[in-house]
């Protein structure tokens, strides 16, 4: 899976949790899950679970805490999924 495919998969995963649709439409690597997309912080753990399922990886607490932006999430996914 290349970077574009990973981004597409991530976009699909976070879509149900997004409350700011406009920011979602303008999604870039810099987009912040909470500040920009207004995702309820309680749902970040659900996004992590969906990412684990999608990429068949396991994300430890330390990596999880970093995954607050699209860029950080992609970087963790790339590292784990190779």
């Amino acid at each position: 899976m290349n970077q574009a495919e990973r981004l597409e998969a991530l976009r699909r995963i976070i879509k149900p949790y997004v409350t700011d649709e406009e920011a979602f439409g303008n999604l870039t690597e810099e987009t912040d899950f909470i500040k920009d997309l207004k995702i309820n912080s309680a749902h970040l753990v659900d996004i992590i679970l969906d990412v684990e399922d999608e990429f068949d990886i396991e994300i430890e607490d330390e990596a999880m805490e970093k995954m607050l932006t699209v860029k950080a999430a992609l970087s963790v996914i790339e590292e784990k999924a190779g």
Binding site: P16, Y17, A42, H43, V45, D46, L49
Partner: protein
């Protein structure tokens, strides 16, 4: 001076009807919502029948968002949200609001919340995969789940809480909401209760042998309150909700008034003098009924109709006896009496609220729903009252102004509430 309290909205998700129009039609027609439950048979239950509201995926989506429905398996919370939102909108109130409504609160009771969610979580925890619980476990298993979901959906800013008193829960929630408004703490309260469907909730009762295990072939006639052939209760589930509102607030916004809540009482028999974890102390029951009458300034002779707890167990004759003693009325002087459980089974923590919705609908529309499956009244009951006092056919000719509703639960707890036709503001 206590504020007068009226009912301005109703909502229900019952085994024999989801939503007010279907439920009203079903209870008028004496239609059973009890069905054969294949899952119970597969799991070797003795009782393989039960009642659960029928809810399609399309219907769910009218109440909860797709995000709320992700990993959502809490049937009681679903029923509670459906009944609660319906009641709110039935009262002419909107769920679209920008800021919290600090004049409105909620008290929705439950026995157990999210037993299916708890089961899922227990497996994951035992496998060492606690992280997989995600964020959806806690809101679905917390006892206040129904109130919390509804509080958020409706933007309620007054007291948001839950009550739990086993099978008295639904009746008790109405009483607690009444007291909150009567004391002037809120203008309106969403009251009611919910109960999950399915084997993980019903199993314990099956094991206690208190459920009917003789009628698996005949679901519709299985729940037989007051009958000589009553063979135990049939499990049900669902939710009922009522918007209780101060009379002042209801008049001010020109709301339709279904009935007045005069008040009531709750107590316990202390698990003494015949009372236990599972059986009521008759003295406690009688005192609860009398306290309700006295607090409401209602004379026993003014009670037109009893909406009983009457579960279709061997306790039904005892309940009739308790009513007779508490009211000091026997024979043809006894009020009319009926039980909704013949149609919907025993909806456990949801029973009192669903049955109260039925009571209030009857008062408002001028009908008395039939107590079905009582062709053969129990001989011990007939020693106290003639069979004509049991309403077994739909009646629209009875002049019913005042209805008393009771619920009795494990822990020897009792709750009793009195509803009256609304007779104007003075």
């Amino acid at each position: 001076m206590n504020k007068r309290v009226v009912i301005t909205g109703l909502g229900v998700a019952a085994p024999n009807g989801v939503g007010l129009p279907d439920f009203t039609a079903a209870i008028r027609a004496g239609q059973s919502g009890i069905r054969y439950q294949e899952q119970l048979a597969e799991l070797n239950f003795s009782c393989q029948i039960g009642g659960a509201p029928e809810v399609s995926e399309e219907l769910k989506a009218q109440y909860l968002t797709s995000l709320q429905l992700r990993n959502f398996v809490s049937s009681g919370i679903l029923y509670g949200c459906m009944a609660g939102i319906d009641a709110w909108e039935d009262a002419g109130l909107s769920r679209e609001r920008e800021t919290a409504d600090f004049d409105s609160g909620a008290i929705l009771g439950i026995g157990n919340s999210g037993v299916d969610k708890m089961r899922e979580a227990a497996y994951l925890v035992d496998e060492g995969r606690v992280k997989r619980l995600g964020s959806t476990t806690v809101p679905q298993i917390m006892a206040s789940g129904v109130s919390a979901y509804l509080g958020g959906i409706l933007g309620l800013g007054n007291t948001i809480t839950t009550n739990s008193s086993a099978c008295a829960t639904g009746t008790e929630s109405i009483l607690m909401a009444y007291e909150h408004i009567a004391n002037g703490y809120a203008k309106r309260m969403l009251a009611g209760s919910a109960s999950d469907s399915g084997p993980y909730l019903w199993g314990g009762f099956d094991a206690m042998r208190v459920m009917n295990n003789r009628s698996n072939e005949h679901p519709a006639s299985a729940s037989r309150p007051m009958s000589a052939t009553a063979a135990g209760f049939v499990p049900g589930s669902g939710a009922g909700a009522l918007v209780l509102e101060s009379l002042d607030s209801a008049l001010e916004r020109g709301a339709r008034i279904y009935a007045e809540v005069l008040g009531g009482a709750s107590n316990s028999g202390g698990q003494r003098s015949g009372g236990s974890m599972t059986a009521p102390n008759p003295v406690g029951v009688q005192r609860c009924i009398r306290a309700a009458l006295s607090r409401c300034n209602v004379a026993p002779a003014d009670i037109d109709l009893i909406n009983g707890h009457l579960t279709a167990t061997t306790k039904d004759p005892d309940e009739i006896q308790n009513w007779a003693v508490a009211l000091g009325r026997t024979g043809s002087d006894f009020p009319y009496i009926h039980s909704l459980k013949g149609m919907i089974g025993h909806c456990i923590s949801a029973a009192g609220s669903i049955e109260s919705v039925a009571a209030v609908l009857g008062l408002h529309q001028g009908f008395v729903f039939p107590s079905i499956n009582c062709e053969d009244p129990h001989p011990s009951i007939l020693e106290v009252i003639p069979e004509g006092r049991i309403v077994r056919q739909l009646r629209e000719d009875l002049s019913v102004k005042t209805v008393i509703k009771a619920g009795f639960g494990f822990g020897d707890v009792n709750a009793c509430v009195i509803f009256q036709s609304f007779n104007g503001a003075f």
